[in-house]
Each structure stands twice: as C-alpha cells, then as structure tokens.
Symmetry: C2
Subunit: 193 residues, 2 copies
C-alpha cells in the first residue's frame, strides 16, 4: 500500500485530541501529518485553508456533538433533574473523567483566527443558554437561572484547569455530580408549558 488514507471522522478525532491538549499554536501540520499518516500536501488537499480550516472542522464537530448529546437531551421530556443527570454523564465522558482539557478554554488563547474566536464565543453562549433554559424550567426565575448556569459552566471550566495543572480530577468529578442540584430548583416544579 503506497498510499494511506483515513476517514475524516477518525482524522478529526485525532486532531481534536491534539488541539485540546496542546492548543492552536502547539499543533503543527507536520504533527497532524504524523498522527494521521497523511502527508502534509494531502491535508491541504482535504483542507485547502490549512491549519485554520482543520481547527474549524474540529470545532464544528464538537459543536455537533454538543447539539446531540447536551442541547437536545436538555429539551427532551422528563423532569429537569433527570435530564441534567443524563447530560452530566455525557459531559463526564466528553472530558474523559477530567483528564482532557476543554477545547474552548485551550483554543481561546490568542493565536487562532478571528473566525475561531467568534465560533467559540457563540458555542459557549449556546451552552449557557441551554443550561439557563433547563434551570428556568425547573422553577427558577430567569435571573437566578442564568446565574446558576454561569456558575455551572464556570465550575466545569475551572475544575478542568485544576485537573490539568494539579493532575487531580476530584473537583471536576464533584462538579459533574453536583450538576443536577446546581441547575435545578429543589422546590416545587412548575408544570411544563
């Protein structure tokens, strides 16, 4: 086999793992080439925009994953508590139980394109809105729901930083466990509209 190939999905998963641990500036096309088995020229054939186009495809794949595994389940039937618990389990897996950084954190460090920064901002705002909506539905007034959603994401992001620096996953696992009680009011539940 003189020529090697690799599916876009497998390639982007490898690229995701590299970008989320080393950042935009920390991943070179040579490294992407070595990890995928494809020559650099082949990467340019698939992604004519070069590294920026690769990282944008990676981020879009993450956004799609969040839509399916986080945003959609939060809109399903069932009690808000139950929906949040399901999503918490998904997030635990996405972050490999705290052993993988958040790509939004790592890629938001300057170096990437304006397009990348904007996409990350929009994606994080969507996450914030999804958490706010479920908290509101559990019975909280909007301002409180928004505040709890912020606190939840702040604590997920912050605990992943601690996990990376200290090698201690406990704070992350703790936040994931607390997520249902953090995001849903324990009082009376409002009927779903």
């Amino acid at each position: 086999m003189a020529h090697k190939t690799i599916s876009d999905e497998v390639f982007l998963d490898k690229a995701l793992d590299m970008f989320r641990s080393r950042g935009y500036e920390g991943v070179s096309l040579r490294q992407l080439s070595a990890a995928s088995g494809l020559e650099k020229a082949s990467l340019f054939y698939r992604y004519p925009g070069g590294k920026n186009e690769v990282v944008m495809a990676v981020v879009q794949r993450v956004i799609d994953w969040f839509e399916v595994n986080v945003f959609a389940p939060l809109r399903e039937e069932g009690s808000p508590q139950k929906r949040v618990a399901i999503v918490a389990a998904k997030l635990r897996i996405f972050y490999h139980h705290g052993t993988r950084p958040c790509i939004t954190d790592v890629l938001s460090i300057a170096g990437g394109s304006e397009e990348l920064a904007t996409t990350l901002r929009v994606a994080l705002e969507a996450w914030l809105k999804a958490f706010t909506d479920v908290a509101k539905e559990s019975g909280m007034p909007l301002a409180l729901a928004r505040s709890k959603a912020e606190e939840a994401i702040v604590r997920i992001e912050g605990s992943l930083v601690l996990a990376r620096v200290l090698g201690n996953r406990a704070p992350f696992l703790n936040v994931i466990k607390l997520l249902p009680e953090l995001l849903t009011s324990k009082g009376e539940r409002l009927p779903r509209r």
Copy 2:
C-alpha cells in the same frame, strides 16, 4: 543611542503580559525582542536558557507577587473575613478586573518544559493551601475548608475562562465579591491559636 536597554522588571512585566495572553508556544523570541527593543542575542545573554529561562523568570516573578500580595496578607492579624477581602481586592487588580487570563491556566497547556509544569503545580498547591488555612481558621473543619478553597480557585479560574471567551467580566467580578463569604464561615469564630 545605538544600544538600547531595559530593566529586568520592565522586561518581565511585558513578557508576563505576552505569555498570559498568547501562551508558551504563542510567544516567540522575535516577539519578545520586538516588545522589549532588545535583539534576540541580547535576550540570550540575559537568559542563556532561552525561552524556557524567560518564562521561568516570569513565573517566579508571579510567585513572588503572590507571596507578598496573597499569602502574606492571609497570615496577618485581623479577622479572616477582613484578610480575605483585602486579598480579593489584590486579585481583582492582578487579573486586571477580569481582562487578563490566569498564567497558570494558559502556561499549563502542553508545550513548555517539565520544569515549568512542576513549578505551576507547586504554585497552585500553595495557593490552595493558603485559602484552606484561612478557611480553617475562620472555624471550618479541615475537609470543608479544603473543599471551599478548591471551589474558590475553581471559580476564579473558570470565570477567567468565561471572561476570555465571552468578553464578559461579570462572573469574575462576582466571584471576587463573594470570596470572603465563600472562604470564611459565618458562624462563631475560633480564637486564633
């Protein structure tokens, strides 16, 4: 003036600002040269170990700042609440009211030396210990004090990530404001030993 010069303090402050916003891989010696007005060869004269030695000097300067402005004030006389409030104000300034990232977050992204990673871990553990000690002194049992200290740092780090991605400093300013009540028990105070 054919030759230019710059004090170590001013140079390291410029370097700190660059490293905390762009990360280790995102700052080149050429950029450090341009920002300081010194040629690359002059930087190697001052820091023979190259970029790693520069970043280690930057980190040591931050550690020294924390010793003077965070750790020492937390050991002073006065109520724990008051001491934490003083330190909170210092931290607000260090992070430029939420407009500058945490260097521990940014530099812990892979790319730097093992020495750098170890130094960041030790520094963050010292911060955790300082917060744990003041929380314990305010009357909490050790396990609770440690948990509150973790939560405080998690929320500082996480809110700085949100500030960077969303351009919204409110969550950071909120955590800084909450710091005294987060880290000190509101009940009876134990007498200082």
